[in-house]
Symmetry: C2
Subunit: 410 residues, 2 copies
Amino acid sequence: MALVNEHFLKIPNNYLFADVAKKVNVFKATHPKAEVISMGVGDVTQPLAPAVVEAIHKAADEMSTQSGFHGYGPEQGYDFLREAILKHEFLSRGIHLEKDEIFVNDGAKSDTGNIQELIRWDNSVGVTDPIYPVYIDSNAMIGRAGIKDENGRWSNVIYMPCIAENKFIPQIPDRRVDVIYLCYPNNPTGMVLSREELRKWVNYALHNDALIFFDAAYEAYIQDEDIPHSIYEIKGARKCAIEFHSYSKTAGFTGVRCGYTVVPKEVTASTLDGEAIQLNALWNRRQCTKFNGASYISQRAAEATYSAEGRKQVKATIDYYMRNARQILTVLKSLGLECYGGENAPYIWVKTPSETDSWTFFRQMLYGAHVVCTPGVGFGPSGEGYVRFTAFGSREHTEEALQRIKDWLK
Amino acid sequence: MALVNEHFLKIPNNYLFADVAKKVNVFKATHPKAEVISMGVGDVTQPLAPAVVEAIHKAADEMSTQSGFHGYGPEQGYDFLREAILKHEFLSRGIHLEKDEIFVNDGAKSDTGNIQELIRWDNSVGVTDPIYPVYIDSNAMIGRAGIKDENGRWSNVIYMPCIAENKFIPQIPDRRVDVIYLCYPNNPTGMVLSREELRKWVNYALHNDALIFFDAAYEAYIQDEDIPHSIYEIKGARKCAIEFHSYSKTAGFTGVRCGYTVVPKEVTASTLDGEAIQLNALWNRRQCTKFNGASYISQRAAEATYSAEGRKQVKATIDYYMRNARQILTVLKSLGLECYGGENAPYIWVKTPSETDSWTFFRQMLYGAHVVCTPGVGFGPSGEGYVRFTAFGSREHTEEALQRIKDWLK
């Protein structure tokens, strides 16, 4: 008789954003005249760059011909894209990687969710808290996270709280952690770590033979020149870190689906007998078995973001969103709200007034201002008492939402 | 210290097709003047249907505008595609499914590889042999397949041989099997199962509370009206079968990436305590956690295959490939080779002459005729002594390859 994987039964039925969407839909159904503005889901709103659209048209035309047709590509991605990535994302920063250390994918969510397949089921997992739910949930589904307690903490997960009181700087844990997920610039807090702070993590990993899974999905939003764009800017990271990138937020590809994962050949994990196994080879095997490559069209679209025109257009859209972010920060701070992030990331992390809990404040804002934010507690226990705003809306919607919040809070 | 998932170390380093590609590349490097024709990898060669290309252009234009831009779609896929699937793939065959039983993906390989995440680590797995490597490998990676013996058989996998001697009809096993992978029309043998034979499997699954993972990736190639296109044509299958579809071979989407998985709400697996858990909810949770939806562009492309024009064009390409298949069958049979498949599938399964082993015959044909086939043993132990030809090439290449084989074998 077929038996279910009972670990699935331990995780909440709904994915956080599905939960938020449900509540928003209930509100819309009962308030059909309300024009709800979402600053909740981290989804982009501006059109694709013209250079990208042109590349999609060109790829489609190729696919309509015998000689230009592309069937299965290499599971790791086409050379034209991997080479562009090496050149523009890494060589330009003095980081030397090899082509076969780059694995193109259909977006970071898949790879950040699947990467845990490479490690033993009983490795301990460390996460900053609050965090993007995928890192924990993907481990919970395989049993690595243990059991959830009444406070929403998993027994086998080591949480490194990032809150106002510690300036959102995660402390090196006092317990053994085998695998650490870090996301900087951070989703959901919008905060960044300095080179010095990141170095502490790399050194911890090197000294403890631990792994860092580093999510750099928002690196294109960094404004401050001192903040690293890649963990490989830190010496030694090539030996202990796997890094995830995505075109979703960089170039508005949330509906196009393309990203890439970097697995340096020096990164290893150990067998019980102490033999070091290269994870690059294992990831390659995993992807060759369970993935058939990203769409040729999406890869040509991604390549176009590296042309001179593409780079300009992509930057213009990022600047557009960061202008929203500055506006959100300005207005919410003027209302007396304690705000974090929004300077090197498109997320603003706001402490709720009067210690209101996250979901209550979310509901109050939805009903009071018809604006959607994301309850911070949905990202983890240390997110309680915070909500997240995104800067991805249109200028007009962002300004209107801020006006409504002003009117509501006054 | 980070420990590796040691199950990965038990599987061969290379994926079968990567292995074949390596040997072909060695040949090409040492015989630069040889024009190698591949009838090996199951990749399509004909351009996308004009209706599909038009849909891609239209989607790209939408994405270049504010109002037409699409960001994140529902992880399960857009309604426009799910509704088209329900109507054209199922309702048209008298099968009533609901929209939320359809999960759009980036191609069947991902889902056939990931579906095993829903079941307990120690479920026993049954496969027809020979088989598409993903079904076994994805289970081996999590430890469900046991240990591989010297004959290439995994200790926890129940093999149901499909060979000339049993007319390629898999026998119901005499041991308990919790999860059975079936692929019909079959990759690699090109054979099909009658309604009656499929019914035996559905009844087995119903009586034993087992699950069937039914890969219907090639159903569009069925010519015989009596052969089912979906396992849901069999009464009771809704209670025990999950079905996988892909636009890869149906519509040439190997480089576009789109497919869908059907998980009827009646399909359950049990907890240790005997509680029936709905797999539809679990798959939804898995996909919401580790997948961000198929590209909007790919989904509009898939939708276009259901328009009147699209259906005609897609059928014309399938007919083109099946003409190749008939030609391959005719010629190889005339050379005295024992051939199977090729009538309801784009694959022809050929017994090697004089009991030559698969890899030897593969090598002999590569060096002797400069034609690539796929060694049957790469698909499993019962594939030894067979090779697979695909009908996906161009007419010209197919005819030339057959001429060279004629010359070589005479």
